[in-house]
């Protein structure tokens, strides 16, 4: 009766339940590492506001979808990348871009915050963002004698009216820290970093017949101009 439980719960738990960080021979460090405290707090803000309803955090290998080609990662994501994540929020919708590597794409906290305050600001001209704004994570303050050190720096034309500044609340600041901590690029033994354009295929998920898989992947890969 509970066959699926054996396959999807017990089996995975037996294989992965006691996974531990391993020494990475390329970087000489343990991988993965737990997040810093602020980033971990930011993760709670990410959960509380349901960012996972629109954003996935999983990169599929080259040859399957266009995740790598879109610049969402340099390699597919694997089990080890998520070892410290609880609750796991890999997401099943891509109403927005995948965020598994947003920390690599956008390491600048101010940019991330401005985007959260009003996503429209960071869009190229003529483009419309479909992401909701999060004004409630920010505070509009009357300017004192000096500008607050962490007030948002806006591109010209988007600053609030004179005499006011926009200051991120704690939730916004830790959320940006969390986004900056999102990167899954460390090369792994079974998974050398793929630079876009090559045809290496991830071993962990390759079907048993390797040659056909290579053929398949190059077939799906080629037309992306």
């Amino acid at each position: 009766m509970s066959l699926s439980w054996l396959g999807l719960v017990l089996g995975p738990q037996l294989q992965l339940g006691s996974q531990a960080p391993e020494m990475n021979d390329k970087t000489g460090q343990l991988y993965p590492q737990a997040r810093a405290g602020t980033a971990q707090q930011g993760r709670e803000v990410y959960r509380a506001n349901g960012c996972f309803s629109c954003h996935s955090q999983q990169v599929r290998p080259q040859g399957f979808g266009a995740d790598i080609e879109r610049g969402w990662g340099v390699r597919r994501t694997v089990a080890a990348d998520y070892l410290f994540d609880s609750p796991l929020m890999v997401g099943s919708q891509r109403i927005g871009p995948d965020l598994a590597n947003i920390g690599l794409r956008q390491p600048d906290a101010n940019q991330l915050l401005v985007h959260l305050y009003n996503p429209q600001i960071t869009m190229a001209t003529g483009q419309k963002s479909n992401m909701p704004s999060y004004p409630y994570l920010f505070e509009k303050r009357k300017l004192g004698r000096t500008i607050s050190p962490d007030a948002l720096k806006f591109p010209s034309g988007f600053a609030p009216e004179a005499g006011y500044e926009i200051v991120p609340r704690v939730e916004a600041r830790v959320l940006a820290e969390y986004l900056r901590s999102l990167h899954a690029e460390v090369p792994l033994i079974e998974l050398p970093s793929i630079t876009p354009g090559t045809n290496a295929v991830a071993e962990t998920n390759a079907p048993a017949a390797a040659p056909t898989n290579a053929a398949q992947s190059s077939a799906t890969n080629s037309p992306a101009k």
Partner: protein, 483 residues
């Protein structure tokens, strides 16, 4: 069917001959708990569809209601789906199950007051859960986003409801079982099992890393593709024969369908290239593909039972609800099977297609079947005249239009979105633009579903009103007769 063996049980046990309980009396014994289950189902349906409408607007106009943290998309969306499953679908399932156990087992409901209480506790749990999500306390898991304190309330309420339902099943006076009975009995145990296991492994004592992904997928597919499917199909197999007064086409097809769903239904919702060892997604797709077997069995059985009396489908709106539900079941489950194929999984996972699939299953299939069943059951347990066909038909038309418009918009929109997403030469901005027409259409569908929810609530409360009115009239009459 099974009427020939009536009375066998009393012979077999050798005790005093079983009293014959009239249907009227059986129905009356179910009144209060079922009234709580059905009226709360109506409330949560409306609640969930209103959130659905807001969410659907937000998807094309992201700044709609963006200033309020309680109403941000990332909270409203899980609040919408979870209040639908736990607020509408589950109570409707419990109510119909209890009634069928009583009717098919020819027995009164035991301790209805107690059950009505459990039903209220369940509703408190749903309320606490929905408010919890909107306050930012969501657990972060799909279909299991209620915070832990809400899940605890639900679980406690379920223990009572489940035990009572099983007891009601046990005291039946009719030994021979109709397929619907074991469908619903299995579903009772199934829900207890998956709900407790998933909460334990995800919320209370979480497993590590990606094992959570597996447990979440296991729970989601068992919840939607096994539990709700088994309940819905069980109800379909009771009502179609009942409403056209013909036997169920094939007992064996219903047996195979049941085991097929039970064995193969719990494996879906894993992306073919999820960050997992490859055997897990592989196993998941193989088993999901085998869902073809139960799909075909259900289709043949429904068709076989109906053939010869298709006319009734058009003339009896209750039957229309049930048959539309069966039709949507086939659509939803076929979509599930299709997305297990590797090349389609590549295109369709992560898109509105999966949301559309859940919609066909929850609204198209389950809600439709539940509406039909409730329209049949509610007047009987309340003890008033049936709902006017005209009012049911109005609800039916609006509902079916809403389901189809919303369902097609998401399904087709998802296909377009998936094709664009997987083509790196289409900039992300263009991907979004491509979905906008579909999102606008889905708002129309959402609006129709809200109206359908209103019509249902009106129809149900007019029954209660008739009941109170009738009682009042009787009292007045008695008062006049006395002096």
């Amino acid at each position: 069917m099974s009427s020939s063996t009536q009375g066998l049980s009393s012979v077999a046990t050798g005790s005093a001959p079983a009293e014959v309980i009239s249907s009227k009396e059986i129905d009356a014994s179910c009144r209060w708990p079922l009234l709580v289950f059905f009226s709360s189902a109506a409330f949560w349906f409306l609640f969930s569809t209103v959130l659905g409408l807001i969410n659907s607007i937000k998807l094309h106009s992201p700044n709609f209601l963006a200033h309020c943290p309680w109403l941000t998309y990332g909270r409203l969306r899980p609040a919408q789906t979870d209040s639908f499953v736990y607020g509408f679908a589950a109570p409707a399932a419990f109510g119909v199950t209890l009634w069928l156990f009583c009717r098919l087992g020819r027995t009164r409901l035991i301790a209805p007051g107690f059950l009505a209480m459990a039903a209220k506790i369940w509703n408190i749990g749903v309320l606490v859960g929905a408010v919890g999500i909107m306050a930012g306390d969501g657990a972060g898991f799909e279909w299991l986003n209620f915070p832990r304190y809400a899940s605890l309330i639900l679980f406690i309420a379920y223990v009572f409801i489940g035990i009572w339902a099983v007891l009601t099943f046990k005291v039946r006076q009719q030994d021979q079982l109709f397929p619907s009975q074991w469908y619903l009995l299995a579903a009772l145990f199934w829900f207890a099992w998956i709900y407790s296991a998933a909460n334990l492994l995800l919320v209370f004592s979480p497993v590590r890393g990606v094992v959570q992904l597996c447990v979440n997928a296991w729970y989601a597919s068992n919840l939607l593709n096994v539990w709700l499917s088994v309940v819905g199909v069980g109800v379909i197999f009771y009502f179609i024969p009942k409403l056209i007064s013909r036997p169920l086409h094939s007992y064996y097809l219903s047996l195979v369908a049941f085991w097929g769903i039970a064995l193969f239904g719990g494996w879906s919702f894993i992306n073919t290239n999820a960050p997992l060892p490859s055997w897990i997604p592989a196993l998941s797709s193989v088993f999901t593909l085998m869902m073809i077997l139960p799909i075909v069995c259900v289709a043949l059985n429904v068709h076989g039972t109906l053939s010869g009396d298709f006319k009734s489908v058009r003339t009896n709106p209750i039957l229309s609800f049930i048959v539309f539900g069966a039709f949507s079941f086939l659509i939803a489950q076929s979509m599930n099977v299709l997305s297990a194929f590797r090349p389609l999984n590549e295109k369709l996972f992560f898109t509105y297609f999966t949301a559309g699939q859940a919609h066909w299953l929850l609204q198209g299939f389950f809600a439709s079947v539940a509406f039909g069943a409730i329209y049949y059951i509610a007047p009987r347990v309340i003890g008033v005249d049936l709902v006017q066909q005209k009012s049911i038909r109005r609800h039916l038309l609006v509902f079916v239009a809403g389901v189809i418009i919303y369902g097609l918009a998401l399904t087709l929109g998802g296909i377009v979105q998936g094709a664009n997403l997987n083509n790196a030469s289409v900039p992300f901005d263009e991907v979004i633009k491509g979905t906008l027409p579909f999102l606008h259409a889905s708002t129309i569908g959402s609006l129709l579903l809200v109206i359908a929810g209103l019509l249902f609530a009106v129809n149900l409360s007019s029954l209660c009103f008739n009941c109170v009115w009738g009682m009042g009239k009787q009292l007045v009459k008695k008062g006049e007769e006395r002096p």
